[in-house]
Structures are given as structure tokens and as C-alpha cells.
Symmetry: C2
Subunit: 475 residues, 2 copies
């Protein structure tokens, strides 16, 4: 079965189960059909049912009990409605969000704040301790020649490991197709510089993470925000229309998983997006920063998989799933490789050696998959817990995304709420959140906030309750 | 006594001794006046004489014998004439040296080549082993919160150490004046981006290292090369004239020590340069990459010392004296700090944490000065040895710079020699050199080469002899 039809199937099965729960056929605390039973009954594969059950688990409908199977949760998620598809202004706009960004970028360093703002991973769910042990061991035995500069493209053993893992996302790469960068943000920054000159227009999803907007701002690029569905990603119809109306020099998307939406571009749309841009010869900068942090067992592919022309520049890193502080990312620049290499050289010659070696050894040891399985499960539960808490404590009219991966939720509050006012109140209350303003070049997300569920713990329900009270004061 | 008058004094004393040796008053193998004798006799300080002696030692005129004092060397350096002041084209030119740069940047990774090309330090003279031990120890005990991103400005303990050391170069900085970067090249790249937009003109020294030219090229900036003296640096008269003739948006100089010239800008000129640019409100990007690798005991200051207006952006790193592979540099951006911070954030968020922590601890332990004393002495001897070997084996008409620091020599060959042809011949012979072409945006240094003496050893004399033979074949 193709990935595409499979992804529809497992969602259908999940929807059937939810229907049975909602109508009372399956009751809270009661068992549900085993994976094998349902697989036989519905004539679908074991893995499709497993995937549906993981999704339901992530959404808080069912829970696994060791040695016993799946049960309907005692406390059901009455799913919040999703935000509507975004409708940004149809004109390219100059980007200017630095002042707002400056306001929030020091919050993560404030030990007095409960961190639900910055999209940092949970430090306890990074692999830092294990990576550091590997790094320490390498550092003690490494040859003195390694004191000199690493190759511009980065360490070869790491590029081999990245090329191997790329097979899982549908890409057949050679290590020479890859350039190591200082995190995904450098990959994106260099990609934009390889393609665009100041004044050019880049089509982006709306909302989009302010880090990408920062990058556009500093490069003097205009942003053209494209309507984006909270689950199905960028509207290809709107994008095609925009391309026909406006000169666009590049398109930049977060394929898996959009920050703040938590959405991934469905496989059919990924292929259609790549084909569309190949047709118009517009380069696609694809950000797959959170791709390994999917919920359930659907390993999403990347747009790069469907790239026949070298038109896609795939950017990624190990920052969200392994260790932000290592600052190791990469770009697969397609036909822009020579230009990317020159830009990397002129920007900082090459990337720090030891962190590259440590990650390469971590990957080749097989530890990465073990680590990821644990982390995905926890983040999925955290997102489900966030969703349920928001549902319980935020006022009527609140909407929230249904992330398929990552660890952030995007929450639409009633119109009357100004997220900047709420931000200031919540900081006073000791809680860091991210106001919606900085996810767009215009003010259209004034009543949205992004919440990070990475650090969800026993206290978090109370924090959401507190936020809910602050929000209700706005009325 | 001011630094300026002192630097003239010690050079005068050195010149007197050379005169006494050349005229035979002091003979090869014989002793010379002790430091104290000469200090009394000339009515100058002990340190001025010491400095003169270190210079003479670096130049190969005298040598220290433990417990015994200084002696005239058995083999005297018959100093080669220096190249003349450069006379580049007076018009801004589009930079395009990437193809040539590409030709040579993989040479350092070829284990079959004798490395006299790339300006890499001698790996044995980096502090990698010691730094790695510190890093390994930190990696094993660090708190899990350090897995997250470092602050945009970089680690505070490292910035404190850099601010402390800056006192030696005449600067009184606060840690907040400093932003940590991925090496000096990132400091330069971000500084240029903070000031210039594509099409702008940057006045630079000529010759200048191709890394800086690369940076201009990728940013779409024009280079205006200013005549530069092989020992006294950029011509201030020519620079003033250029500023009056042409719109110049920035000036970029390597204050200590120009690569490839090995020259430093004399203190009077540093101050005059800063004053000139303050007068015209043109920002100065100052590169002080090799400043710690001075010969003798003259610790050169930086232009930033004389900056009253925040107009100077000082760029430096630990790459040449501690460990290139760590990729740790910094910028003191003066009044451009807010812009630099934004650019750093948009480029790669922040710099890798562990290398910063290791260098901070190395610096605070006091190991840096011990390390530098050893390294400076060896590089000074290597440069003297290179100079003598070139003198012996290269054809008549050869000129060579008299570096005051660093580890590279800049050699002017007879007009008939094409350095690109010579480069190809020498690569075939297993010797990496750097052809003069890539130190300028025009072809004016076609008969120049840069040689790196960092790895000088017992075999190097033979290598220079071999190069000399190749050169003579050009006639």
C-alpha cells in the first residue's frame, strides 16, 4: 500500500473508534478491539491499526495497559475545534518582528519562569548526557590533526550517517549531497542567501515560526504569507494563485511539523507542491526540523523525496530531538550545492568538529532510534494532556490545533483577547508563553498563543488553569 | 613611556645591533652585550632591550643560550629586500575569486602534500589536547539545562575572560560588549552584513587574505584595494584620498598581523586610522586574528583602543592560537551591537556551548599565557628559518616580507614567474603553496606566493630548495 493511501486509512480507523466512543458503544475504562481483531475485521494491515491506536492514544482517547491491550480513557478528550485555515493578506510585506522577538528571546534564561513559551525541547528528553559521554571519550583520544578546520561540507562520518537515515524519509542521498551547518537555522539562512537577493519575495506558510521571519527580515526579503490549514498545511491552490499573480523567488515551508501548527504536509500535497514549483522553476526551501518527533508510527516523508530537478533545498538539524546546544544541522541543497558551499565557507569556514563526531557515533551506535521511540511517546502524551487541560480551563470559543508531531500547540483565543497583553500578564504570573503576533508579518494572530508542552508535568494542569483565569479577565 | 615611542626605540636598538653584526664588530658565535648592560648604556628600559633582542632572535640574527645570554648566530640572515608598497587599481572592483579559492581549499586535507599553503597553525602548537581534556571533564559533569541553546551573545563566562584579556590590547570592555561567533570569519561576515548592503564598496588592504575577499564576494560587495606597505600597513594618505573620491561604506583592515604580509599597523597609524574614519563616519571592521602571535615582547594594541564613537567593530578568534576546530571567535561591535545580535540570531541562533566553556576554563586557569609564550617563540624562529631558506634557494630578485607576528611569509618572485603555474608544478611535486592571485581582486600579485612556516621542520629547508628549483625553471 502506498504511504498516501495508508495515511488516509489509519485516520479513518481512528475516526471510527472515536465515533464508537462518542456514541457510547465503547465506554470509558472499557477495552477496545485488539489490533489483530480490527486488522482482520477491517482488512487493513496490523501497522495501519497500530498507527490509528497511537494517534488515538496521543489524542487522549485511549491508553495502553502493559500486557493487556488498549482501553478507553477514563477522562475523555472532548476535542477542541481547530482554528480555521489562515487568511493572511495577499500582498508581500516587509518583515519587521525583531522588536517583538527581542522581547521574548531572553525568557528561556529566566529561571523564575515556567517555560511554556520558547519551542525548546525538554532538556531531560535531549540525549545530552549520552552524547557528552561519547564526546568526552572522543575528545580524549582524537588525533592532533583534528585540531585543524573540518572540511567546509562537514565531517564525512556524520554525512554518511545522515545519508543512511534519509532513506527513512524517502530520500536516496550520497554523503556528498549534504553540507553540515550550525543548526537548521544556518541551513535556512544559507539557503535563502543562495537563492534570493534583498527585495525578493518568499512565499511562506501562515502562521510561521518567528525564527524564519527573522531570517527573512535580516536578509531584506519580503514575505508573502499563504493560507495554511491547521492540519493539511499550505494551500496549494492559494500558492498557485499567488505564483501566477506575484513574482516569487522562493517558497519556504516546514514540511514536518509546522511550528506553531504541528501540522505536516500530507504526502500527496508534498508531491504536488514539488511538482508545482518545478513547473514554475521556483526553488523550495523545505524545513524538516521536527520530522523525527512524529506521533504514532507514521514516519512522514520529506518533499525532497519527490524532487526530480534538484530544486528542493532540505534543511534539518538534531536540535529538537538530540541536543540544541551542539548546534549541528544540515542542508541537502540540490542544484544549489556549489553556492551553498561557498556561502558556508564565507560565513564561518566550517562547523565545530567534536559535536559532529559525537553525533555521528551516537547515530552509528543505533542509540538514536531507541531514544526517539521514548521521546515521541512522551511528547505525544504531553500534547494530548495540554489539549485536554486547555479544553477544561480556557473559555468557550477557544480552538486548538491537533499536532501530529513536535511539542507545541497553537491556540486561538476569543477575539477579545490580545496575546501581547496576555503575554505581559502571564510573565508577571511567572509563566512564559509566546504571543501570536510574532508568527506573521501582520497582526492577524493577535488573539493566538503558542504553548510548549515539552516540559509537561504534574504542575502543568494548574499552570493552564492559571492562564485560563488570566484570559477570562480579558472579557 | 608611551607604547608608540617605545616601539620606535626597540626597533632602533635592534637596528644598531644589526649594524654592529654586519660591520663585523659583533661576530657570528660571539656574545653580545647583556640586556642590563645595553639598558644602562642606552638609557632605555630593560623591557625595551628585551624586546629588541626578541626581534633580533626572531629575525635570526642572535640566539639565546640558556643561563648564558644572547649570542650572534653562526649562520646570519642576510635579509631579503621587502616587497614595495602595493599599488592596486584605484577603482572599486567586483570580487570574484571563488574559482581560484576552490582550487586550493582542499589541499590541507591531502595527506600527500607538504603543507606550506593554507594559513593553518601547526596542529602540534594548538592547545587541542589540553582543551579537549577540559572539555571532556566539563561534558561529564554539566547540568542537563546546558543541553539547550546558549544565549545569542554567547556564554557569559567566556565573555568575561575575553573582556579581561582585552585590557592587554588597550581595550576596557564589559562582557556585554562582546558577542561570541563561530570563528573570526563569522564575526567579519556578520559585521559586514550589519553595515553594508549589496553593491556597497569596502576599502581593504592590498594584498588581503582571500577569506575576506570571499566574504565580500558572497555579500555582493565591491572591494577598493588601498596601497599597503609590507611593514607599516595600509597607507592612510591613500585611504583618505580614496574616501574623498569614492563613496565607501566600510573599511576593513587586519590590524595585527596582516595575512599575507605579517605586518601590523603601527600604533600611531591605528589611532590616525580610527580618527580618520570617525571624521568621515565610516565604520571600521578591524580583524585582530593573529594579534596574540606577536614576535618579541611587543604586545600590539588594537584600533578599538582608540575608538571613541563605537565606530570600530573588532573581530577576533581563538582559531590561530588555540584550536581552529573549536570554531570560537568574537566580535566587539560597538554601536552596531543590536544589529549584530539580530544577525547572529537569524544566522544560527547561538554558538555551540561546550567549546565555549572549555576555552573559558582554559583562559581562567592561566594556561593561555604559558601556551602563547611557547608558541610565539617557535613561530618567530620558523619565520626566520623560512626567510633564510628563501634567501639561500630562491633566485635573485626575490623579495620577502619581515613578519612581526603570525606564521606566514609573503614572497615576491621575479616578474617572469607565474604563481599559478608554479602552484600546479609544486602540487605535482607534493608541496602545497598559495598563489598570489587570490590575495587581490585583480591579477596584480601574479608573481607572489604565500608560504606558511607554521610546520617548519628539519625537512623544510629541502622543500624550499625544491621550490627554488621549480621557480628557476620558469626562467
Amino acid at each position: 500500500m502506498s504511504d498516501i493511501s495508508r495515511s488516509y486509512k489509519y485516520e479513518n480507523i481512528a475516526a471510527q473508534i472515536v465515533h464508537l466512543i462518542k456514541t457510547g458503544t465503547l465506554r470509558p475504562g472499557g477495552g477496545i478491539p485488539s489490533v489483530r481483531q480490527l486488522s482482520d475485521q477491517e482488512q487493513v494491515s496490523i501497522s495501519t491499526v497500530t498507527q490509528a491506536y497511537y494517534l488515538l492514544e496521543a489524542q487522549g482517547w485511549i491508553e495502553a495497559r502493559p500486557q493487556s491491550g488498549f482501553y478507553v480513557c477514563e477522562t475523555l478528550p472532548i476535542a477542541l475545534p481547530e482554528p480555521e485555515i489562515s487568511l493572511p493578506t495577499p500582498d508581500p510585506t516587509t518583515v519587521s518582528v525583531w522588536d517583538l522577538t527581542m522581547m521574548i528571546i531572553n525568557d528561556p534564561f529566566n529561571p523564575n519562569l515556567i517555560q511554556m513559551g520558547a519551542a525548546y525541547p525538554n532538556p531531560e528528553l535531549t540525549a545530552m548526557h549520552k552524547l557528552n559521554r561519547i564526546l568526552a571519550s572522543i575528545a580524549r583520544k582524537i588525533d592532533i590533526k583534528s585540531s585543524l578546520y573540518e572540511a567546509v561540507e562537514g565531517n564525512e562520518s556524520l554525512r554518511v550517517q545522515i545519508a543512511r537515515r534519509a532513506i527513512n524519509t524517502g530520500c536516496h542521498l550520497s554523503p556528498d549531497d549534504i553540507i553540515i551547518t550550525a543548526g537548521c537555522s544556518e541551513a535556512v539562512s544559507l539557503s535563502l542567501r543562495a537563492i534570493c537577493k534583498p527585495g525578493d519575495t518568499v512565499a511562506i506558510e501562515s502562521p510561521i515560526c518567528f525564527d524564519q521571519l527573522q531570517c527573512l527580515e535580516t536578509l531584506g526579503l519580503k514575505a508573502l504569507e499563504i493560507p495554511t490549514h491547521p492540519r493539511n498545511g499550505i494551500s496549494l491552490q492559494a500558492l498557485r494563485f499567488a505564483i501566477q499573480q506575484t513574482p516569487i523567488q522562493a517558497v519556504m515551508v516546514i514540511s514536518n511539523f509546522n511550528n506553531p501548527l504541528g501540522s505536516y504536509i500530507p504526502e500527496v500535497n508534498k508531491k504536488a507542491l514539488v511538482d508545482l514549483l518545478a513547473e514554475y522553476e521556483i526553488p523550495l526551501i523545505e524545513i524538516n526540523l521536527l520530522g523525527e518527533l512524529y506521533f504514532g508510527d507514521l514516519h512522514p516523508k520529506v518533499c525532497k523525496k519527490y524532487d526530480q530537478t534538484g530544486n528542493v533545498l532540505l534543511c534539518s538539524s538534531f536540535s529538537k530531538d538530540l541536543c540544541p546546544a551542539y548546534r549541528i544541522g544540515w542542508v541537502v541543497p540540490g542544484k544549489y550545492k556549489a553556492k551553498l558551499k561557498q556561502l558556508k565557507y564565507a560565513s564561518n569556514l566550517s562547523t565545530s568538529t567534536l559535536p559532529q563526531l559525537a553525533i555521528a557515533e551516537f547515530l552509528s551506535s543505533g542509540s538514536y532510534d531507541v531514544h526517539l521511540r521514548r521521546v515521541r511517546r512522551i511528547y505525544a502524551r504531553n500534547i494530548a494532556a495540554l489539549s485536554q487541560a486547555v479544553n477544561r480551563h480556557f473559555p468557550e470559543g477557544t480552538r486548538m490545533t491537533r499536532p501530529a508531531g513536535g511539542f507545541v500547540g497553537w491556540i486561538q483565543l476569543p477575539e477579545v483577547v490580545d496575546s501581547l497583553v496576555l503575554y505581559k500578564q502571564s510573565i508577571k504570573a511567572g509563566i512564559a508563553i509566546t504571543p501570536g503576533y510574532i508568527f506573521s508579518t501582520t497582526d492577524q494572530y493577535r488573539n493566538f498563543i503558542r504553548l510548549n508542552a515539552a516540559n509537561w508535568n504534574d504542575n502543568s494542569e494548574r499552570v493552564i488553569q492559571h492562564l485560563g483565569e488570566l484570559i477570562k479577565k480579558s472579557f
